[in-house]
């Protein structure tokens, strides 16, 4: 088991390295000069040089690449004798923990350093992401929970009551839910529940998790604002989960071991929810993980329409301003989320199915 975990983590790190390399070189070929952008309208060649030096834009691409790798990696290598070397570790750059030194090279352990935003007055990217990511996380977890709970229950029920009017009804809405683009459903949901039905629901059309009060209470948590975006975001995974668990359940219900369970004299409830459901879950888990990961990566449209200050909105803003460190940092974060979820899913499979666990 431990060996398997180590193997999975090693594969994950390999993936992250690949993503980092790809992202780094993609942004190298983008036609923009970040140093110029930071100065905006000012014309000061000395300042320009300083900026280039500070961010390493004056170095060769290979040097810049290694520098970035060093910044992002948990373990980094530095030249501690030559102050002009590009790997020289400026004191205070990160909160590092020195591991050991071999001749002039120091090896350092630290948290990944994602550099600073070009435009937000040099605000560290880590700080930006740690403000926005949890907000998205709350939204994603809420909507996936909503989708899992109702998706599996409705999927199982439609499988049991196959071909009845309720089955047809739910299937119709799940097909509709799958085919609605999220920018459209967001607007519909916002309009319907927060405008037309506002008197009943008392919900706002837009709003983020943390709001600033007009009456001087400062920032406060507004959970009410979570409902509509989570609902909107959950519609598609919900529809997919309903259909998938229905199909998977139908297949399992025709299996011999379900007949065996009935022949034992078990009640229909136990047969369905104990014997059949566990067997039907594997494909559902695959879909849930995929959707959850992509929800965490930011649901751009939904966040924009509901003015939800999450990572999706942050990425779009950063792209508009060519704020490379933020974009690259966000991409790395999202890639890590995917890797972690994949590992978790592999272990979930094993938890559900002993045939995977024991091989």
């Amino acid at each position: 088991m431990i060996k398997y975990l180590i193997k999975k983590i090693a594969y994950g790190l390999l993936v992250l390295w690949g993503v980092l390399t790809l992202v780094f070189f993609l942004f190298q070929i983008m036609p923009a000069d970040p140093a110029r952008m930071m100065l905006s309208q000012r014309e000061d060649s000395k300042q320009l040089e300083l900026i280039k030096q500070k961010y390493g834009f004056d170095k060769s691409i290979s040097e810049q690449y290694f520098l970035y790798l060093n910044d992002v990696s948990i373990i980094s290598f530095h030249n501690n004798s030559d102050i002009d070397a590009y790997t020289y570790l400026t004191p205070g750059k990160y909160k590092e923990q020195q591991l050991f030194s071999v001749s002039s090279t120091t090896v350092v352990l630290k948290r990944p350093y994602l550099r600073e935003s070009f435009i937000k007055n040099g605000k560290p990217v880590t700080a930006i992401l740690s403000e926005t990511f949890p907000v998205t996380m709350v939204l994603a977890i809420t909507s996936i929970m909503f989708a899992i709970l109702f998706g599996i229950i409705l999927g199982v029920l439609t499988a049991i009551y196959k071909d009845t009017i309720w089955d047809r009804f739910i299937l119709f809405f799940s097909v509709l839910g799958m085919s609605l683009p999220s920018f459209f459903s967001s607007i519909i949901v916002a309009w319907l529940f927060a405008y037309v039905l506002h008197d009943f629901t008392n919900l706002n059309m837009t709003g983020s998790l943390n709001e600033v009060d007009d009456y001087g209470r400062g920032q406060f948590l507004n959970l009410k604002n979570l409902i509509l975006p989570a609902l909107t975001l959950g519609i598609r995974p919900l529809s997919v989960i309903i259909q998938l668990s229905r199909n998977s359940m139908l297949e399992v219900l025709s299996m011999d071991y379900v007949r065996t369970a009935t022949a034992k004299g078990l009640s229909k409830f136990v047969v369905v929810f104990k014997h059949a459901l566990l067997n039907a879950l594997n494909p559902v888990v695959t879909v849930i993980s995929g959707w959850f990961a992509s929800l965490l990566a930011g649901a751009v449209f939904v966040e924009y329409i509901f003015a939800w200050n999450g990572i999706g909105k942050e990425i779009v803003d950063a792209l508009n301003n060519l704020d490379m460190p933020v974009v690259m940092g966000a991409v790395m974060l999202i890639a890590s989320v995917f890797v972690v979820i994949n590992i978790v899913v592999d272990f979930t499979y094993a938890l559900i199915d002993p045939r995977i666990r024991l091989n």
Binding site: Y257, R259, A261, A263, G265, S267, H275, R355
Partner: protein, 599 residues
Amino acid sequence: MGNTLLEFKNLVTEFRTEGTSVKAVKGISFTLNRGETIGIVGESGSGKSVTSLSAMRLIPNPPGEITGGEIIFHQKDGTATDLLKISEEEMRVFRGNDIAMIFQEPMTSLNPVFTCGNQVVEAIMLHQKLNKKQAKELTIKLFEEVQLPDPERIFRTYPHQISGGQKQRVMIAMAMSCQPSVLIADEPTTALDVTVQKTILQLMQKLQTERDMGIMFITHDLGVIAELADKVVVMYKGDIVEQGNVWDIFSNPQHPYTKGLLACRPPLDKRYTFLPTVSDFMKTDENGKIIENNISVEEFTKDLAIPLSERENKHKELYSKEPILQIKNLKTYFPIRNGFFGGISEYVRAVDNITFDVYPGETLGLVGESGCGKTTTGRTIIRLEEPTEGEMIYKGKDIAKMNTKELREFRKEVQIIFQDPYSSLNPRMTIGNAIMEPMQVHSILDNDEQRKKRVEDLLTRVNLDPSHFYRYPHEFSGGQRQRIGIARALAVNPKFIICDESVSALDVSVQAQVLNLLNELKEEFGLTYIFISHDLSVVKYMSDRMVVMQAGQIEEMGDADQIYNQPGTEYTKKLINAIPEGKLEDIKRHLERKGVKVG
């Protein structure tokens, strides 16, 4: 009536699909007594499984529905209940508790996500007032009783970790767990090796005598129940055509269908020019009415036997030729990869150093239990698996070293007919196209029109209708599909056919038809066969020489008759002893053991 256990009175079960209704069981009546075993025999589609599922009220609804009759269950205290009239809740009390069932497919009948032990414990705790610990103790005791090795370990294992025979024992333990008075066994041994079948049958016999149960044993093969049953019910197309005690049915069958079923098993002591089938004893007219031939089994088979001298002459000629295929020290290993970069840590030695020759025009039988490497051998010969080592010389060329062009030519000459007629045909392709495809690949004949003509000829040759060209596989029965498989193999004019368990999934009566067809085609086209099967009786009947395999190696090889008459190894003896022959002497012995005088 004190002895009556389960009474079926005019049971009717129908299946409805889109407006039409088919009666799977057409008003049958029979009685199961306490301590009695009834064998219910018939081909697939005869309604025997539907009958047993009806008794458990397990008919899938829709489309199935029990539309008439009564099934009366008599409890020990004398109360009689009509199982068809009580509610689902009341029925659950009977299921598993008074009436238990074991199914055909042990591989899929246990839930893969729970341990074997848990599944039995669940059944016990459902019907008996025992706590978890007591239930566990009882389960382990039951596992001992069904002769599972190391019951404590089996309790903790998951179904995929044990063999098919062991799974069936777990199923039996589960069925036994609440001391049922009726045990319904729906083809419990059909999916198992003959050797395993024998041990399961012995176990059921033992349990029945100990516990005084009534057993309903459903099978398509009369031979299987000969030594187990007291009574036999023969079903044909939803009706009971004959019922009586086992001795009468075997010694003096009245109905032509019963005669057909008795005669179609390949005989072990002689060879026939063709195997009798059910249609030799009866025909049905367009209304489904049975027309009898009024001929007894003895009369019919009298002139069919091939004299020994004829066989000897044929062999003399056969073995004077050069071998068409020489297998020398063949090894096929399957690597197990589990290292970090997919490194190979171990090998499964599926075929481990075997050597044999095949002569043109002969049928070479390959026999052994599942997992002995016989199928891998067949697959390696046509390069569906790559050999690890060794030579396979076909007409002077090593198959393993053929280039693409030679391999193409080789595959035209050597064809394979697979085991499962259900999954070896593409469900999205009409059978005409399926048969035509290999001709197109090998550019046989000039255009598709000629090929279509040939496909129609082939369909006629394998006793199917040429108009079936545009039909899809799901419209055919198992036997018909296997004939389609044969037609597909014949399409490229092969010289050499490998039959890989080609009749194992079929009912005995259909098996006889397919075996006859294979033998006719062999004569007609001068074919050479490698005939692979786990059933020694079939291999012995078909082959000139046979190879007995065990654990990837050859156990014994030689003339089929000689191996059968004088088996050289313990393993071969075990295989031969396990064949359910349904001989009258055996039935007599079995009945006398129970204290019934016959003959």
